[in-house]
């Protein structure tokens, strides 16, 4: 018998204003897994993340995390249960220094979950260690992307929603990002990864879902996805 999934989404619907974006998506993430949510621009990936996190209130459906229903909870309560959220636009606090950005993310230690400290994060993202006092607004895109992940890790999450971490980054930084995600997996943190970049996802994820027009069209292992060219052609190629 398998343990219940860490995060389970059932028939989730969400609206953005009056536009119906999510038409009943279901997915699950098990402890320690890296799961990719793939799809083209506008397919509903970011909205799915926001709906899980409570930033876009779900109109219908269930979200369970760590054995608890969370679809009606405010975002801060969801975060305190150990679900971390890394937004696509990074949303660094530009006036605050690196250290202060990390401070805002700090939450109490959680049993059974890796405890992150500034030093441990600086080991994971050595670039940040060299700019502790620099205001977030004066960092490059890649550095900001590292910081936004580090900031979320300060909350000691057991699962992280990562929205397009490779977007707009130089290839060498993308490679660093992939290493960081593998390091998170090594620590036992689960990850849901929104991506358009299939190549990037293939390098880090265990399983994948494909989302198209607000519905899940595929769910399976990375190997299955890699083998199925028509699937990729249909839903992912630009």
């Amino acid at each position: 018998m398998t343990a219940p999934p860490m995060l389970e989404v059932k028939d989730l619907h969400a609206f953005y204003g009056r536009a119906h974006i999510l038409h009943g998506i279901s997915l699950e993430v098990r402890a320690g897994e890296v799961v990719a949510l793939l799809g083209r621009n506008g397919a509903g990936k970011s909205t799915a993340m926001k709906a899980i996190m409570g930033l876009v209130p779900p109109a219908r459906g269930e979200v369970s995390f760590a054995g608890q229903r969370i679809e009606r909870l405010p975002p801060y309560r969801i975060a305190r249960l150990g679900l971390g959220y890394v937004p696509e636009e990074r949303r660094i606090f530009t006036e605050l220094s690196v250290m202060e950005n990390l401070e805002v993310g700090r939450q109490a230690a959680r049993a059974g979950v890796p405890l992150w400290t500034e030093d441990k994060l600086f080991a994971l993202f050595p670039n940040l260690a060299r700019m502790r006092e620099r205001p977030g607004g004066r960092m490059s895109g890649g550095e900001q992307q590292m910081l936004t992940i580090a900031r979320t890790l300060m909350g000691n999450p057991s699962c992280v929603l990562l929205d397009e971490p490779s977007e707009g980054l130089a290839p060498i930084i993308v490679e660093e990002m992939a290493n960081s995600i593998r390091a998170l997996k090594g620590e036992g943190v689960s990850v849901i990864l929104c991506e358009q970049n299939l190549h990037f996802a293939l390098g880090v994820a265990d399983r994948a879902y494909i989302i198209e027009k607000g519905q899940i069209r595929f769910g399976g292992s990375m190997a299955e996805l890699a083998a199925n060219e028509s699937l990729r052609e249909q839903y992912l190629s630009v």
């Binding site: 996190m53 975060a79 606090f93």
Partner: protein, 624 residues
């Protein structure tokens, strides 16, 4: 001026700047995190003065009694702020920002009457600070020792706030939330607790600012709106959200005011210039100047874009049948109603046009005005003065008055359309206050604080019912005209500009020009409302141009709801009628009005008409 007198004025100004800074810093902090323009902040300052007065009486006029009272009053005001946040504002953080504004107006009304009930209408003169009542001699002039202490308190509080904001976790959270509060929530921070704590700190600052003034200024019931205008000016001049900017601006304005008083009347090239009369406007002149040069204040930064703004709902144009049926019904009322009702209806009709014109500019045109009374008042005064001082016939005065109001709107609007958001709103307030203080001080022309009397209509209009028909026709036509304009290409362009200024300009709309034209249009029509109102009352007072008149207009619009065209009319009717009924029955009409508004705010966050529409929609859905 001698060097010594310059120094004295400088010290006077710096002492006055201390409280101004404390109040403005609190306002700025609260606005930064919660995005609420807290009109009740001035009321907290007023409570600080009253609280300190009573506590000193209770503890005795000893140094310990005095300072204990000041600190305790500040803390008590902090708790009042927490109460306001928890009981009212927390429930409506998801409501549109303008509705939160309405809630803070209601709190102003309630607190004013609580103060009236507790402390009475008389000014209360506080004691001098025990142990500090002597004066210090500087360059042969005597300076109160207390003023020197106040001068020192400003920088000390600035330093403490700076430490709090840059050296503590709380400070990091506050600064982070000022930029992106949703993200702070997604990182696990309980916004409700953070907001409450910010309200506490901000309110303590307001209370402390008030309490420290007790040896310098008597506690009175007019302080709430007076200081809120000052504090708005300081925060805007300094840059919203910038504590250092608030400090700088408080000093500039405090010192400028002190010099205006100190210089007095000067004769330059044969012209007599009274600087002391400038005291009431100098801060607004500074503000207008600063905003034209630096649209975000001295040390401010462009506002972070607001996230996830709900798209504005589709406006529905009321049909001609709808408008005509209502006009006909209203025309029939005098046949059955008494004289009193007819007069009340005349008021309502005037305020309905005032309210609709304000709605036009703040809703569809997207430019919130805190100073719409300027045009109403200028219209009223223009009508009265053209008749009384320039000898025009009443009919001509009535028709020319809107043009005069429109002329002022041309000038004021030129500045205002260069700004947006809260800065724009504050600038409209500044122009309204400039107009008010000119009217208030130009005794020979406007009658000063007494106003203008004997502004009665011509004989053929003297009958109250006849005049009601005139008001109904003029104001009704104005309202219908504004509604139709909204559905002309001009109206569509304005709404496009509100929803996306960039895209509107990209498709070739001269947005600024259109907004300017809208400003002039609503200014003229608000002026018409003022002129009709003036002749119905027979007199005009400076209160027709005051902040209170502007906020009345905002309450009418917001009460009815910005989201429908009929809302502002309904809001004006209900507000005017309710005020009349309540004021006839109790001295504490403000508290009752405030209470009613708060109930409405908490029950119908879409405004009355919007709320009713939602109720009807839900009822239909259930039946289907």
């Amino acid at each position: 001026m001698t060097l010594a007198s310059i120094l004295i004025q400088l010290l006077n100004g710096l002492a006055a700047a201390a409280s101004l800074f404390l109040v403005s810093a609190g306002l700025s902090l609260i606005f930064g995190v919660t995005r609420i323009v807290n009109f009740a902040h001035g009321s907290l300052y007023m409570l600080g003065l009253y609280g300190a007065y009573s506590l000193i009486e209770f503890f005795g006029r000893t140094p310990l009694g005095f300072w204990g009272a000041v600190v305790l009053a500040a803390l008590a005001v902090g708790l009042v702020g927490v109460l306001i946040e928890v009981l009212v504002l927390r429930r409506i953080y998801r409501a549109p920002e303008l509705f939160q504004l309405l809630a803070t107006f209601a709190v102003v009304l309630v607190i004013k009457d609580i103060a009236l009930f507790t402390w009475g209408a008389e000014d209360l003169v506080g004691p001098r600070a025990p142990g500090l009542s002597m004066a210090v001699e500087i360059m042969g002039r005597r300076i109160p020792a207390y003023d020197l202490l106040l001068i020192a308190i400003g920088p000390v509080v600035l330093a403490l706030l700076w430490l709090l904001l840059t050296r503590t976790r709380w400070g990091a959270l506050v600064r982070a939330a000022t930029q992106d509060r949703e993200m702070v929530g997604a990182l696990g921070v309980d916004q409700a607790k953070l907001f409450t704590s910010v309200f506490f700190v901000g309110s303590v600052l307001a209370g402390l600012g008030g309490a420290l003034q007790i040896p310098r200024e008597p506690a009175n019931l007019e302080l709430d709106l007076a200081i809120i205008a000052d504090a708005f000016v300081v925060t805007v001049v300094g840059g919203l959200g910038s504590i250092g900017g608030a400090f700088l601006a408080a000093i500039i304005i405090g010192v400028a005011k002190a010099f205006c008083i100190g210089i007095g009347t000067v004769t330059w090239f044969g012209f007599e210039i009274s600087f002391s009369k400038l005291t009431l406007v100098v801060e607004f002149l500074i503000m207008a100047l600063v905003l034209v040069v630096r649209p975000y204040g001295l040390l401010g930064k462009p506002q972070a874009a607001q996230r996830a703004a709900e798209p504005a709902p589709r406006l529905q144009v009321p049909s001609w049948t709808f408008a005509l049926v209502w006009l006909a019904l209203l025309a029939l009322v005098p046949l059955v109603a008494d004289r009193y009702t007819t007069i009340l209806l005349t008021d309502i009709v005037c305020f309905a046009l005032f309210s609709v014109s304000l709605h036009f500019i703040m809703g569809p045109a997207g430019m919130v005005s805190f100073g719409h009374a300027a045009y109403f008042g200028i219209g009223a005064y223009a009508a009265g003065l053209l008749m009384k001082r320039f000898g025009l016939p009443m009919e001509a005065a009535l028709l020319l008055a809107p043009l005069v109001a429109g002329l002022f709107a041309i000038v004021y609007g030129w500045f205002c359309v260069r700004l947006s958001g809260v800065y724009l709103a504050m600038l409209t307030l500044a122009f309204a206050q400039i107009s008010w203080s000119i009217v208030f001080q130009w005794d020979s022309m406007t009658g000063g604080s007494n106003g203008v009397f004997g502004v009665w209509p011509s004989a053929w209009l003297a009958d109250k019912t006849t005049y009601y028909y005139l008001a109904l026709v003029l104001c009704g036509a104005g309202i219908v005209f504004l509604w139709r304009v909204l559905f002309s290409p001009f109206g569509y362009a304005l709404r496009a500009g509100r929803d996306s200024p960039l895209r509107a300009e990209a498709i070739g709309i001269d947005l600024r020009g259109f907004q300017w034209a809208a400003f002039v249009l609503v200014g003229a029509l608000a002026g018409l409302a003022g002129a009709v109102y003036a002749f119905s009352k027979g007199s005009i007072s400076p209160s027709s141009i005051s902040i209170a008149q502007s906020t009345d207009g905002l309450i009418m619009v917001l009460l009815g709801g910005v989201e429908t065209l009929t809302g502002p009319v309904v809001g004006a009717a209900i507000f005017t009628w309710l005020r009349d009924v309540v004021a006839r029955n109790t001295e504490f009409w403000r508290a009752v009005m405030g209470g009613v508004i708060l109930l409405i705010v908490l029950l119908f966050p879409q405004g009355l008409v919007g709320g009713l529409k939602a109720l009807v929609a839900r009822w239909r859905e259930q039946r289907a």
